[in-house]
Amino acid sequence: MSAATRENAPHARIEAAIRAAGARGVPALVAFLTAGYPRRERFRADLAAVASAADVVEIGVPFTDPMADGVTIQRSSRDALAQGVTLRWILAELAAMPPVAAPLLLMSYLNPLHAFGYAELAAAAERARIAGFIVPDLPFDEGGALREALKTRGLALVQMATPVTTAERLAKVCAASRGFVYAVTMTGTTGRHVAVPDDVVAYLDRVRAAARVPVCAGFGIRSAEQVARLAGHVDGVIVGSALVEVLERGEDPAAWLRALRPATA
């Protein structure tokens, strides 16, 4: 029996963690940090702190050309690279550190994964207790080779939906996605503050209707009001740039994350 079909397959751990928050009546918190930023030697401690307050954690693999990201994540990527952070280093750190409760995903542009080799990557990710991947420059249609390699280890490849995705494509994206569907709440790059207008709520309802796995909304989420407004329309919310800025300022990420979701306090 392959790992992919077992209930404890890595991708299923992501889905379960998000559903567990829903069972408590709150949207799951999916938190993003760039590996090794602001300081490489604090990676394990930062990750543990973030994981203590989040339901799922996305670890950003720095890349020289983060074309889908805004200024904050461009800055954090560049700085992490300058400190010598690589995919290989991240995987080694994760394999060596005490496990955290929250399922972990790697968020990476495709070329570092391609350079690593997909089959070797899937094996190394499993050893590092990674549950899945998010690849912002890999649309559904081009994802076959990576998706197959990850599937042999039961690892998720999270697909993205956007407000401009057609209904026909949304059905395909949702069917292929494991772990959750990443619903981008706006067009544009990461990190800009956005209000949550009615049409975004309607769009999220459409994604949720199309998806069997949980739906998490991301891009531009940084306040408790936004989280409250999205609750009921999504299974989880993704916070990226705002959390990176919290870490950058040297503040307590766990406290900041908890304040996003007062209902659980």
Binding site: F63, T64, D65, P66, M67, A68, G70, V71, Q74, R78, L81, T86, L87, R88, Y109, L110, N111, P112, L113, H114, A115, F116, P136, D137, L138, P139, F140, D141, E142, Q159, M160, A161, T162, V164, T165, T166, R169, V173, V184, T187, G188, T189
Partner: protein, 417 residues
């Protein structure tokens, strides 16, 4: 990429010559594709549908042909470079894209895409530029069709190509300096993509080279093959036959694919692309993507790349801003893999020497980019005496005056040359 057998190579080359590529998945053999954020999928599908609806139709082609003739100034001349030929011991012909409006081949693509943008109902155009030639061409084409134009340009390139920045502004474009990343063409492409991601349906992205996600490599090639189609007919008429060698410079690869493509089926024509060898062979010292790179994914396509073992894209160097790019169009990657085109390098110093030689012997100031092709041709002529060579002179060198002032002109003024 798995190793190709001789039979694979032959089949792929036959398919390429038969016009099979890009295939329905936007691939040139294994290369190409569409590696873009999901947000851009509707915009790129709309572009592909729009391209199918207009490109090649009698109405669009008539409008484009009229602009190319009456506004761009096509056909561009084919010049018999007799004095260069005498020096090199060869018969040398130059396809003069430097004579096209705005001074380079870039205008062929810019006016074609601007006409397409207009037909697709775009509200604004964004473009990236390296040497500034594509930025100037885009600004001019947008002014011509009446669309607002924003050009992203690396801060380093803005210094190197200052005269072009002023030209773009005069032509009504907004020029946005890119201070992120390597501050050259690659960072400008990233920033233009980010702009497009923010408004994928109202904005038209006027990409300047045969790179990026499908259908750009195809669209740009189709708009640039006018160079090769004209040159082939001109050679037959003026030289009485095809060239033995066809040589062009390769950065992203638009002037070269435009020149090469109509000659691919001419098996007797040896085709050579010249990349920027910079000042060394170590990563970071050159921009020789095909000669020295490995396959990978950057800015929408699977192609050859300059990258480190971790898949991080490397900074590049070239004296010529237009060649200073770590990727290359996917069709060139295919042409290299199947062995139809050979890719070599010319160094910064060789390019400068070629600028000087062309100025002094033909009365033509070539762009530093094009000078790489001249340098490669000179080397080929030395190894193949008495042969006929056609060189793509992709642009004029006026934009390079700040660099030339520091180098060749300083030498002349100091009495060193």
């Amino acid at each position: 990429m798995t190793a190709m057998t001789e039979q694979d190579r032959r089949q792929l080359l036959d398919a390429e010559i038969a016009g099979v590529f890009p295939d329905t998945r936007g691939r040139f053999g294994p290369f190409g594709g569409r590696y873009i954020p999901e947000t851009l999928i509707p915009a790129i599908e709309r572009l592909e549908a729009g391209l199918r609806a207009h490109l090649g139709t009698a109405d669009f082609e008539r409008e484009l042909a009229d602009e190319l003739r009456s506004w761009v100034g096509r056909p561009t001349a084919l010049t018999h470079a007799r004095r260069l030929g005498a020096r090199w011991g060869a018969e040398v012909w130059l396809k003069r894209e430097d004579l096209a409006h705005t001074g380079a081949h870039k205008i062929n693509n810019a006016i074609g895409q601007a006409l397409l943008a207009k037909r697709l109902g775009a509200r604004r155009v964004v473009a990236e530029t390296g040497a500034g030639q594509h930025g100037v061409a885009s600004a001019a084409a947008c002014a011509r069709v009446g669309l607002p134009c924003t050009v992203y340009m690396g801060a380093l390139d803005m210094e190197r190509q200052a005269p072009n920045v002023g030209r773009m502004r005069l032509l009504g474009a907004q020029v946005v300096p890119v201070t992120e990343g390597d501050r050259t063409l690659r960072a400008a492409v990233d920033e233009a993509l980010r702009d497009w991601v923010a408004d994928p349906l109202g904005t038209y992205y006027l990409l300047g080279s045969a790179i990026g996600p499908h259908p750009y490599p195809y669209l740009v090639r189709q708009l640039q093959t006018i160079i090769g189609r004209e040159a082939r007919a001109q050679m037959l008429a003026a030289a009485g036959g095809l060239p033995d060698a066809l040589i062009a410079c390769v950065g992203g690869g638009s002037n070269s694919i435009g020149l090469f493509h109509p000659f691919l089926a001419d098996a007797a024509v040896e085709i050579i692309g010249i990349e920027a060898g910079g000042h060394g062979r170590a990563l970071g010292e050159h921009s020789a993507t095909l000669a020295l790179g490995r396959p990978g994914i950057l800015q929408g396509a699977y192609s050859m790349l300059l990258q480190d073992p971790d898949g991080q894209i490397q900074e590049t160097h070239s004296i010529s801003a237009g060649l200073d790019y770590p990727g290359v169009g996917p069709e060139h990657a295919l042409l290299q893999a199947v062995g139809r085109v050979r890719y070599e390098v010319a160094s910064d110093d060789e390019a400068l020497a070629a600028v000087k030689e062309c100025c002094e012997n033909e009365g033509i100031l070539p762009a530093l980019e094009s000078a790489h092709a001249l340098a490669g041709a000179r080397r080929w002529a030395a190894a193949h005496p008495g042969k006929r060579i056609l060189i793509g002179l992709s642009g004029r060198g006026d934009k390079d005056m700040p660099t030339l002032q520091r180098t060749l002109i300083a030498d002349i003024e100091a009495g060193r040359a």
